[in-house]
Amino acid sequence: MSSEKELKAENLLKIKHTPTHRDWKDPSIDFEAKRGNWCYSGVVKSLKYLDLPRPETKWAPTDEDWQLPENWQEIILDGLRQRLERFRTLRVFMDICVRCGACADKCHFFIGSGDPKNMPVLRAELLRSIYRKEYTLAGKLMGKMVGARELTLPVLKEWFYYFYQCTECRRCSVYCPYGIDTAEITMIVRELMAEVGISIDWIATPISNCFRTGNHLGIQPHGFVDSIEFAADDLKEIINMDVEVPINKKGAEILFITPSADYFGEPHYFTLLGYMMLFKEIGLDYTFSTYASEGGNFGLFHSHDMIKRLNAKTYAEAKRLGVKWILGGECGHMWRVYHQYMCTMQGEQGNLEMPKSPITGTVFENAASTKMVHIAEFTADLIKNGKIKLDPSRNDHWTPTYHDSCNPSRAMGLLDEPRYILENCCNNFAEMPENTIREHTFCCGSGAGLGTDENLEMRLRGGLPRGSAVRYVRDENNVNILLCMCAIDKATLPALCDFWAPPVQVGGVHEMVGNALIMTGEEERKTDLRGEPYAAKEESEDV
């Protein structure tokens, strides 16, 4: 890892966006020199638990020899052929890129690092060059001249380096005239690498934890119960009310699933408190589950198989508990899986019912097939129908801005619901510049399983565009909290904000809901969910 000294803004800001003269077809990478930009390899225990190939091999990216199986090229090329037959996306995306370069400066990693291979077009070319060599006549005959390359160990190492520098945020796809989605290509290449035993620990271990205990953190059932009870105690201190939280309750109407970080991590925790208050206030008949105690799905960052293996628990648990439908908490990639993959992977769920809000009677027709509703949709509906009372002035000590997480914005189209909620919960809401929000939003730089410490330099670099936008509203509008609806964001943005835009805090949308919520029979609250005192009630001057 890079030393503290190096990780200073002025050092990271020496970025040159003009590529060096070295031909991109040269794959060599000096891993030693690039510490802070890549992740550690998967640990034995996790790989073994998941029956992944080559679990016992201990290799590090800095090694000369990655101890690959003898026929590794064959495995990868076979895998590639198979996936070309399975994914039209891959096939089409391999053939039609015109290298117009529109995507080039759209990637946060390129903006922050200036490394030309972080241009989405070149990231895809890393695979496309192999595809050309194997599947096109010109590539076979003319080789490098037409951008074709042999699959060699340096190429594989290059894949490892660059495809674990893509957060699958899909921002490039928005600008591509053909909609080429680098996330799709990254997913395929990561799958191919996994087939020869190349994974990173920060992804493999959460998957293995989740597969075993139901959540990424590996919290066992009793730990889960403890933390929920702890949260209820905390809440009692703030709002002076008893909040009961049902767990594994059969026959509940709704199964509630949220990322496991909500139970343990800060600032996720305040969002959890917000949910608990909201559900108590409206008297929702719901249950948590220990078996499906994770909304997130790190399988998405590994392979389609892993997505399915982890995701199966959701419906299985809904069926076991006999709930009518499922409500999902604030998370980013969790919603990509629930929105774009779950129903296709798991098939239709006859035992569940069309989601209908028991409070407002609204039928969520947009979830007619998956039977799974986003908490923002649910809460926005409550507010619209006047079922909860909110006092936005209780958030007056916050000047929030909202960070659209990549997946809800570009893979789901969930843009206005959270804004509607925030406008009803806060008086001081301010937007970041328009090229950095909604479908143009910038990734935190740590998504897709890259939110670890060993690659902090690359994370901070990737976070530059987001950090710059936050700093802009901090300076222009005195923004002091960055709200988001993604567990990875909540985990990684604090470091980013500390680095690029201190002292902006990070929080969740339902934390603001909890702050503003007027509960029936409540006593006067002294502090918000963080224990921060409310702003003085007197008519505050508008800045």
Partner: protein, 395 residues
């Protein structure tokens, strides 16, 4: 940035569609003129320029008037004009396009219009007018787009734009001066042959243009959330006042010279405008008379409203005064100026000119085009401003 013009509410799109319809009507009318020739207009052998060229002349003035906001803002650093400057520049862009379109529809051989550049003739003021007008359009596009773009990005405008802004100021004066030279150098037309024509054009431009801008600002305040503030409007009102006074003064100079000297060649045109004239057959022609008196009355009324500070300070009355100024000058320049120059003709024949329906529809279409461009550009400016401002204001 232009994409902002593609996202808008119902009112915006309704306006755009109405304006497009007007442009469509104008286009159809033009197609008729295109196939049948300029015979569909009221123009004749004797009055060979009419509504189109008159409107062109008037709009050059509106275009040039942008300098009245650009100069205080960029040169004298009068920051209060910050919000209005872009409106002025966009108005100039629309006016330039209108000017070019008016010239285009006036051409007998529109397909050969590029001959002006293929066979340039530096002796001809029309050649220079084309060049300066085109240059002014490019300058305004460049300046407004760059400055607005920088504002959108939240950074200071690039340094290279400053000299271009400075160039644009004399350039604005030049477009209307050259337009005046177009007329004032013609020995054949004594009415135009006056050294005071260019100054008069500038004075009328600097009152009509800012008057229109004030009207726009008041409309924007009423129908959108965009408020340029009271002070810049009052400042503009003062500019309108002085320019209008100078304009009236210069007109009186002209009247004096013609009347006192009594030279028929100069006097006759004023007679025709204000009292009408008898043709060879003994018929009295008074086409312009009601219009010119209306223009004079509106001019006097507007001067009263503008000069008395108590009236000027009231925005309702100010709006009225601006409307009066605009219409008074529109009649004066957009009808009287050109037609009266041709009547009576050099042989003292009186052949009155009245625009035809087709001609009026084409003119309306060009106005519609100008209004459309203003609408679209203002939409862009307002949307970008709103994004920059909401952030600023809500904090």
């Amino acid at each position: 940035m232009i994409e902002k013009a593609l996202q808008g509410g119902k009112a915006y799109w309704t306006l755009v569609i109405i304006l497009l319809a007007i442009v469509g009507v104008g286009t159809l009318a033009y197609l008729k003129q295109f196939t049948e020739g300029l015979t569909v207009t009221g123009l004749s052998r004797d009055v060979s320029w009419g509504l189109y060229i008159a409107q062109f002349t008037f709009m050059v003035g509106v275009a040039a008037s942008a300098v009245m906001v650009v100069l205080p803002y960029y040169i004298h650093n009068y920051k209060k004009f910050g919000k209005i400057t872009i409106l002025g520049e966009f108005l100039a862009i629309a006016s330039c396009v209108m000017c070019m379109t008016f010239i285009f529809v006036d051409m007998g051989q529109p397909f050969r219009i590029l001959n002006v550049f293929l066979h340039p003739s530096p002796n001809s003021l029309m050649f220079w007018d084309t060049v300066v007008l085109f240059g002014y359009l490019v300058l305004n596009l460049l300046i407004s787009w760059t400055v607005l773009g920088a504002e959108k990005k939240g950074i200071a405008p690039p340094k290279w734009i400053k000299p271009i802004i400075i160039i644009s100021i004399p350039w604005a004066v030049s477009i209307h001066t050259v337009t005046a030279f177009l007329y004032s150098g013609l020995a054949a037309r004594p009415f135009w042959m006056t050294a005071v024509l260019a100054p008069r054009f500038l004075a009328s431009a600097f009152s009509a243009g800012p008057a229109l801008l004030i009207i726009f600002c008041l409309i924007l305040r009423k129908y959108t959330k965009f408020d340029v503030g009271r002070e810049p409007i009052q400042k503009l009102a003062v500019i309108v006042t002085y320019a209008m006074l100078i304009n009236v003064f210069l007109i009186l100079m002209e009247v004096f010279t013609a009347m006192y000297s009594g030279i028929p060649e100069h006097l006759d045109h004023f007679k025709y405008m204000f009292f009408g004239m008898v043709d060879a057959e003994g018929i009295l022609h008074t086409n312009l008379v009601p219009w010119m008196w209306l223009s004079a009355c509106l001019g006097v009324l507007s001067v009263i409203l503008l000069v008395v500070p108590k009236f000027r300070m009231k925005e309702g009355l100010l709006a009225l005064a601006c409307i009066f100024v605009f219409f008074s000058l529109w009649i004066d320049k957009g009808m009287g100026m050109i037609v009266a120059g041709f009547t009576p003709n050099p042989s003292h024949g009186v052949f009155p000119y009245t625009p035809t329906f087709i001609e009026s529809m084409i003119t309306l279409g060009v106005w519609g085009l100008g209004a459309l461009i203003v609408t679209v550009l203002y939409k862009v400016a307002l949307t970008l401003r709103k994004q920059v401002d909401t952030n600023r204001y809500r904090a």
